[in-house]
């Protein structure tokens, strides 16, 4: 090949390689930026006075005096709204029956939105569900509700060939000529004074339990469940994996049995995680009954089986990469095989073993399928360390899926979903980062 062609080939390969890396980085950016910004929104947002009321009453966070002052400040505006609603209720009594029926249905949706915004309307019975006991806690949600209040959403279905088109009609038009018409501009004008939004740093999102199935509160139960499951899996899989790797590299003879074991191990690494989930249910819960039903223990064991092949492989590689000369030196000094493994080979292989272990830990933290049947519940209380043998737990990976797809108010709590995703990614990233740091430290110590 002449030198010109070679140079062109070299350059074009560089260009192709660089492009693919850039595309990958771009894709990563496209995925990560919304997750991070959405997730940050769960912690850092404009919180309304309702958020502060909730915090004080349910978690005892915040300053009671300041809150009382703010309540006193916002109350007159709220009273005005309720007064208008009461006045309209009185007016409604004077309407003729058909008109009355029509308007009472219209006003009830107005009342719904108002109570959604400001909390329960006085005089109504105290709601049972916590989600109805408070108004909107986040200002951007309040703005959405305000839009719902100001406009009625209608669908244009006149053309049967096409999908219906959405359009908005000002709600004030529906009440034209009644006393309630004044309510709409009043709320639009004064909503901020009723809700008093402030920039809020809600650290409790990470440290507090959830309230009313994640409508309010934080995700501590999920974070804790994830940590329990991942660490539990590690407690089983790490020692077993390292011992298996020692067996493979130092003790196993090269025969049919060993090669069957090796290929079984590789196959196990490729089994889809849902299969492990079903196996965990069938074996740990139904057959050997480690617990009566789902439990952290059963989930940890299932995850352990899933990550075991990875740990074995990583440890095997690490042990094989220890120079043969270390072993010779130790054996030559009159050390036994076992002593050589413990005092020379394992310490030298430790960085690789730890890296494999922590990557597996990250994987165990992120897996959903193995814990669906063995450990995870969608809504659960924070469990103590003493309950891990018998109790199931919520976990980030499973609850992200659950909140996004099965929660009755999935659209209302997008910020919680993003927050959970961010928490999960952060946990995995932190684990990997600590792996890198630990590895670097041990390598440095080994190199001198």
């Amino acid at each position: 090949m002449n030198i010109g062609t070679r140079k062109i080939l070299d350059r074009s390969f560089t260009a192709v390689g660089l492009t693919s890396i850039l595309l990958m980085a771009l894709a990563l950016l496209v995925v990560v930026v919304p997750i991070v910004s959405g997730g940050i929104g769960a912690i850092f947002f404009k919180g309304t006075i309702e958020h502060r009321k909730l915090q004080l009453r349910e978690f005892d966070n915040g300053n009671r005096e300041v809150l009382d002052r703010q309540i006193a400040e916002s109350e007159p505006y709220r009273q005005e709204v309720f007064r208008m609603l009461d006045a309209f209720a009185a007016e409604l009594e004077t309407f003729e029956p058909t008109r009355k029926r029509e308007y009472s249905s219209k006003v009830s949706s107005v009342k719904d939105i108002v109570s959604h915004l400001l909390g329960p309307v006085p005089g109504e019975p105290e709601p049972i569900l916590l989600r109805f006991q408070y108004g909107t806690t986040r200002w951007e949600k309040a703005e959405e509700s305000l839009h719902d209040l100001m406009f009625v959403t209608k669908w244009d279905t006149s053309n049967p060939e096409e999908m219906g088109k959405q359009y908005f009609v000002p709600r004030v038009d529906e009440f034209a000529g009644t006393s309630l018409a004044a309510l709409f501009p009043y709320i639009e004008e004064n909503l901020e004074k009723m809700l008093l939004p402030e920039q809020t740093f809600y650290w409790g999102f990470l440290t507090e339990r959830s309230l009313d199935a994640h409508i309010f509160g934080g995700v501590w139960a999920e974070i804790q469940g994830t940590l329990f499951l991942a660490i539990g899996a590690m407690l089983f899989a790490f020692p077993m994996g390292v011992i298996a790797a020692i067996y493979f590299t130092e003790y196993a003879r090269e025969n049919v049995f060993t090669s069957i074991l090796r290929s079984a191990n590789s196959t196990l690494a490729g089994v889809p995680s849902i299969v492990f989930g079903l196996f965990g249910l069938a074996f740990f819960i139904n057959t050997i009954k480690v617990s009566d039903s789902k439990s952290v223990l059963a989930g940890s064991l299932t995850l352990a089986i899933m990550i075991l092949p990875t740990i074995i492989r990583a440890a095997e590689e690490a042990i094989l990469s220890v120079p043969k000369t270390y072993k010779e030196a130790s054996i030559g000094l009159g050390s036994t095989k076992w002593r050589t493994i413990v005092t020379v080979i394992l310490p030298a292989a430790l960085p690789g073993i730890i890296t494999g272990g922590i990557i597996s830990l990250g994987r165990a933290a992120g897996e959903t399928a193995p814990i669906i049947f063995t450990a995870a519940v969608s809504v659960g209380a924070t469990i103590g360390l003493g309950d891990v043998l018998t109790s199931p737990t919520p976990a980030l990976s499973w609850n992200i899926y659950n909140l996004a797809s099965e929660h009755e108010a999935a659209n209302e709590i997008r910020h919680v979903q993003y927050g959970m995703v961010l928490a999960l990614i952060s946990i995995v990233l932190l684990l990997n980062l600590s792996a890198i740091l630990l590895r670097a430290r041990i390598s440095k110590k080994l190199k001198g």
């Binding site: 003879r253 090269e254 120079p323 000369t325 270390y326 072993k327 010779e328 030196a329 130790s330 054996i331 030559g332 000094l333 009159g334 050390s335 036994t336 002593r339 005092t343 020379v344 310490p347 030298a348 110590k445 080994l446 190199k447 001198g448």
Partner: protein
């Protein structure tokens, strides 16, 4: 081969096993105290890798407290023989031996021989310096600790004594807690010698200990061998014939698995009995 340290004919298979062995000692001025007894005796000793006979029916004694060099072209079996002495070849699954190799009246490959105890008496230094990735102190203390020495004071003494014997003490005494991999190649190799000496072996096997070192470090190792001569039985495999002639009292010449000639070094280098030996030491092949 009939006699130790005597020129032998190239046709080894013709030798009669069990014949009495005559011991040739060096001239009076080169003799060492209490030396010259057969420390290792190979009788009809062969080493195989699978079907391949790497070392063929060796008949030889290695004499105590003297330095015996083992020379020969690559692949002649000299390293295999050396590593067989403290059973390092056990690490190679396909390797086995026949005949006998006696060490202090005990068969090295005997059924009840504890190879771990054996290796404590027969220490080895390898071709490439192979300190553990631990501190200098921990490297030296590794062997004594294996034998159950725990007291810091005793370990300190052993470490200092071993490092002094290996002529390394002055260079490293201020950084015993530093990682041994930070030493130069020559220092590392002397550290490996010190580490082996710390176990207090009777025999020291050196497997091309200077092949990875520069001339200056090589000279230091050679001086060290000179120092240790008379205290330990030393067998050294080397590619370097000048080195063999400089440091050894006896020389074994291996060729294609046969022990072709075994004689006092001076005799072997000045007046080889065998044509192959002569060809090799004069550099006609290597």
């Amino acid at each position: 081969m009939q006699m130790t340290a005597e020129a032998k004919s190239s046709n080894q298979s013709a030798s009669k096993s069990g014949a009495s062995r005559e011991i040739f000692l060096p001239p009076e001025r080169d003799r060492v105290k209490d030396g010259g007894k057969p420390h290792l005796s190979a009788k009809n000793f062969s080493i195989f890798y699978g079907d391949f006979e790497a070392v063929k029916k060796i008949e030889a004694d290695i004499l105590s407290k003297y330095v015996t060099a083992i020379i020969g072209p690559s692949g002649c079996g000299k390293s295999t023989f050396l590593r067989a002495i403290n059973r390092m070849n056990d690490l190679i699954p396909s390797c086995y031996t026949s005949g006998s190799l006696m060490f202090d009246g005990e068969d090295v490959y005997g059924k009840y021989t504890d190879e771990v105890q054996l290796r404590r008496k027969i220490g080895m230094v390898f071709q490439k310096p192979n300190p553990f990735p631990k501190s200098i102190f921990d490297n030296i203390a590794y062997g004594p600790r294996l034998q159950g020495v725990k007291e810091k004071k005793v370990l300190d003494e052993i470490v200092e004594k071993s490092l002094r014997k290996a002529a390394l003490w002055d260079e490293v005494k201020d950084r015993l807690d530093k990682n041994a991999l930070g030493l130069s190649g020559g220092q590392q190799q002397r550290l490996c010698v010190a580490r082996t000496l710390a176990v207090e072996p009777e025999i020291l096997l050196l497997d091309e200990p200077t092949s990875a070192l520069d001339p200056k470090s090589t000279a230091k190792i050679e001086d060290l061998i000179e120092e240790l001569r008379g205290s330990y039985t030393i067998a050294i495999v080397t590619h370097n014939m000048q080195q063999a002639s400089r440091v050894s009292d006896y020389t074994m010449f291996f060729y294609e698995g046969d022990l072709v000639e075994y004689a006092p070094t001076k005799q072997l280098f000045t007046n080889p009995r065998d044509q192959v030996t002569e060809d090799y030491i004069t550099g006609r092949f290597s």
